[in-house]
Structure formats: structure tokens, C-alpha cells
Amino acid sequence: MSGIRHTRGKIVLFFIVTILATVCLTLAAIRIGGLDTTYGQLLRGLFIEYDKNVRIIFDIRLPRIVVALLGGALMAVSGLLMQAVMRNPLADPGIIGISSGSAFASVLVTALFPALSPILPIFSFIGGMVAFFLVYILAWDGQITPIRLILVGVAVNALFTGLYEAFNAMTGGSYSGAASIINANIQYKTWDDVRTLAIYAVVAAVLCVIIAGKCNLLALSNQTAHGLGVRVNRLRFLVSILFVLLASIFTAIIGTISFLGLIVPHIGRLLVGSDHKVLIPYSALLGAFIFLLADTIGRSIAYPYEVSASMIMAVIGGPVFIVLLKRSRDIYGS
């Protein structure tokens, strides 16, 4: 699978490099934009005296950056868990319809019952679970092969995408909350969004710590895992709930995005190996970095216009997906 031998030293090195890269990118992202301030001004404005520009950056740019970091981590781990459950390297919540199922539920609630917005992730989760079961049932033929999963997933994705886009068009308004879900637009995210995302992220992190060691068992055949005393179907179901939950939270707060959950775990596996106790935290870190990078590129590449992070991910992710599809037979080992 990879030419890198995953020694403890190299794993630690990759963690340090990625943490440093994320810190540097975050610092750069704070300064990139219409309002330019020095870091000195920024620190003074935040902690010593009121500064109008710093206040604007604090209210507009910082929540967006934190949302990108948290959201990227959630989506990357969601994709990783999905690949573990389906023992399928091409699984991604954005590609096979989980995100669009969540988005459809979110769009419905946002447009019809805006008062329910604080509990939007719950409805988003229900939509994601419906899409997941639809894909699982339709793709099941004694087993689930990568190509069958992709074909069924693309069809389910198209169905829900069509539904929520049609619904959005019927309810009008391209700047509504519903539209921001569709476009994965994080331009107008607030500290309230950060708070919601952070609460779910903490819950998800605790669940991931509990489940990480068990995920390694999913890489073995069902019979082997069963022979080790594992209730395989129950474990798959629990991990499935977790990845749908992560993808749904992302969709409810940020919107739909493809390829993020696919690419990050793959890069993670190449760099730190397939042990989920290491791969889950690393994917979270790398996901945060990549999504913030995509958002930062998107808002600076054609300034003053913005290209959404989902479009940047699609442009990068499409070709990577094709390469992975061609190599899928030897990516997950023997």
C-alpha cells in the first residue's frame, strides 16, 4: 500500500509537521482577507483595547476559521470510519449520498420550520441514516463490492441532491440558510455555529476514543473477527451510527462536501499506517488542515469573489478519486 514504514518516530514526525502546518495556516488565514492587520494589532485588539477592524475579524473571520478546522476534522473521521465499516476504500459520505440525505433533511427543516434550527443536526442525522440504509440495502448482494457501492451511492446522491435543489428553487432565495447548506458556504458562520459544532465534536471525540481500537477488528474478515469474540454486526452498526452522525453534524452546520472524507484517510494511511488508534486522531488533524486550506484558497484565489471550499475540494478530489478507483484493488491490502 505504501512505501513508508510506519515507525513510531515517523508517526510522531508526521503529527508534529501537520500540527505546525495547521498552526501556520491558521495564522495566515487570520490575516488573509479584505481587512489587513498585523499580529501585534490583532493581539492588542483582542486583549488590550477595542479595535474596530479586529472586532470585525473576530466576529466574521475567526468563527469561519474555527468552523473549517472543526468541520474538516469531523468529516475526515466520518469518511475514515465509513471506509472501516464497509471495508471499502472508496466510501465517502459526500459521494455515496449520506451528506445529500442529511442536506435534504436540513433544507426541509430550515425552510419549513426555522424555529427548529438549534436542533438541526438531529434532523440532519435522521436524513443521513435514511440515505445510509437506502444505499446499504440497495448495494447489498451477499456482500458490498466497491463498484456496486459507488454506483448505488451515486444514484442515491443524485436523488437527494435533486430533491433538495428542487426544494430550494421552489422556496426561492439563493442567500437563504438552505442555500448555504447546499453550497457548503461557511462565509457567514458565527460563534453560535462554532459552539454547536464544538459540542458535537467533543461528544464525537469521546466516542472515537472508545471505538478506535475496535475499528482495527473491522479490517479482518467477518469470520475472523467473530472468532475473536466480536459481535461484528453490532460493532458495524455502532460505528455506522457514529460516522453518519459526524457527517450529519458537518452537513447541518456547514453543508454538503465531497471527497474530503475520501482523500484525508487515504493520505493518513500512507503517512501513519492503518492502525485506527493513530489514524483517527491523525485524520482529524489532517482533515482540519485540508478543509481550512480549501476554504482559505477559495476566499483568496479570486478575491473579492469567493469560491466555496466544496468546489475547491471537488476540483482537487475528482482526479484523486479517479486514481484511487484505478488502484482500489491493492489499496486495502490482501
Partner: protein
């Protein structure tokens, strides 16, 4: 458990795959403790289905299976895995997983909720399993980089790390060259003699079954054709009925040897 209580006993055991014929029908069977039992039979005779039923992977349509006198429906999965290890014919493992890591997974039935870290007992069981199977020499290598025979020894080591007293193996010599086949079978024989491990092994090679096993279960069309000590069960008459071939059993260097021909 009394010393002569069968490790496994089945009563009226039946199973049919969806839209298929009965793969196992009304099977009454006992596995003697402390012995090596071969399960033999033609393709489609129900050997692998019986194996999957004994491991608990398949649930019987009818009948019961008893593990040391207790109905296995009343035995928890982890309790079962602490008593019985399973080595399957087909296995998958991530390409970069090391031998030591895979063998340590054998301690899963003893793990706690968080599944982090290994206890001194875990470490001892893993070291012993590697020593017995002679796999310590490639403990740090990726399982995927090993030869077929070496890999089977690693899977066997993982099973031994479960610290159990019964071992179920499904056609583990298939696809191995004769050297690795014999190496593996000698290893099993040694385990049985030195530790008293009860071994049930699905085998295709009749000669190996006669040479390495104490007991045999001969399957035919989902039913039991013969069961008991090898000398009484693997006979010319039984084999002719089981495989629909002509059979002549002779002795070569004091070992039984089976010569088959198409009828």
C-alpha cells in the same frame, strides 16, 4: 466438566442456505477432548458449513450444539472465544499490519472497553504463541510481506494467543506447498501432544488425515457417513461412498496410505 464430556456435541443439527438444499442434515456428532479430529468429505458435503456452525458463525435452522455440555446459545461470544480459537481458510488484513500487531489481536476476548494497551498476561500469551509457532523472527514485518506458509503460522499464533484449549481450523493447508503443509500439521500434532489441545481440522487430503489425526468425521451430502477413531472410519468402503471413487488403502513405511482411482 467431566474428563470425557465431548468438547462439542451436536444433536439433530440442520442448516440450509437461502434458496439452497440442506447443507447439513440432522447431524448427531461428538468431538472427543484432547484429540485431533479430521473432518473430511467431498466438495459440497457440508464440511465448511459444519465448521461455521461449530464456530457459531452460522446459526442452526434446527438442532443444538453443546460446548463442553453447555448449549452454545447460552455461551457469550467472548466466553466462547476464550475457550475456542478459529483459523479460517480465507483471511484479510491491512497491508501494513505487522505480525506482532495481528497476533496481539488474539487477546481481544480478554480486552476491556477501551481496548488500549496490553497486560502482562497478554504479553506473555503473545510471546508464547510466537515462540510455539516460530513467528517471533518476523514479528516486526508486515503480514502481507510473508509467504503463504508463514502467514498461516501467524494466523495460528493469533489463535493460540487466545489462550484457549480447543482449536478449529478450516482447510488451512489449501494453497500451501507440501513443505508448508507438513510443517503446519506437525505443529498441530505437537500442540496436541504437549498441551492437550483439542483440534478439529477440515482437511481435503485423506492421507494427511490418516497420518496426523486420531479421530475422523466423514461427511456425505450434509449427513454423517462415519465418525470415530481414524482406523475405524477412514476405510475403503466409507471413502468409496464419500468420494465416489475406487479406494485402496495400503501401508508405506508403516504409515497408512490411500490410493484412489476413478470408478
Amino acid at each position: 466438566m467431566e474428563a470425557n464430556t465431548p468438547v462439542f456435541r451436536t444433536a439433530g443439527l440442520s442448516y440450509a442456505y437461502k434458496n439452497g438444499p440442506m447443507a447439513v442434515r440432522s447431524l448427531d456428532l461428538s468431538i472427543v477432548p484432547g484429540k485431533i479430529t479430521a473432518v473430511v468429505g467431498a466438495n459440497g458435503s457440508g464440511k465448511s458449513t459444519l465448521f461455521s456452525l461449530l464456530t457459531g458463525y452460522l446459526k442452526p435452522d434446527d438442532g443444538s450444539i453443546y460446548l463442553k455440555g453447555q448449549d452454545i446459545r447460552a455461551v457469550g461470544r467472548r466466553d466462547f472465544a476464550r475457550q475456542v480459537s478459529v483459523v479460517n481458510q480465507y483471511n484479510t488484513v491491512p497491508a501494513d499490519m505487522t505480525v506482532r500487531k495481528l497476533i496481539s489481536m488474539g487477546r481481544t476476548p480478554y480486552s476491556r472497553m477501551y481496548h488500549y494497551g496490553l497486560t502482562p498476561e497478554d504479553m506473555e500469551a503473545i510471546e508464547t504463541a510466537m515462540e510455539v509457532t516460530d513467528t517471533a523472527q518476523f514479528a516486526g514485518r508486515a503480514v502481507s510481506s510473508l509467504s503463504g506458509g508463514q502467514r498461516q503460522r501467524v494466523w495460528l499464533a493469533m489463535a493460540l494467543a487466545q489462550s484457549m484449549d480447543t482449536l478449529l481450523l478450516d482447510e488451512i493447508t489449501t494453497y500451501l506447498d507440501i513443505h508448508y503443509q507438513l510443517e503446519l500439521l506437525h505443529l498441530l500434532k505437537n500442540l496436541n501432544e504437549t498441551r492437550g489441545t483439542t483440534i478439529v481440522v477440515v482437511l481435503h487430503d485423506i492421507n494427511q488425515a490418516m497420518q496426523f489425526c486420531d479421530e475422523a468425521v466423514v461427511m456425505h451430502q450434509g449427513g454423517l457417513l462415519a465418525a470415530g477413531p481414524v482406523v475405524d472410519t477412514i476405510t475403503e468402503d466409507v471413502l468409496e461412498r464419500a468420494f465416489q471413487v475406487g479406494v485402496h488403502i495400503t501401508a508405506v513405511d508403516a504409515l497408512p496410505f490411500c490410493i484412489c482411482s476413478l470408478k
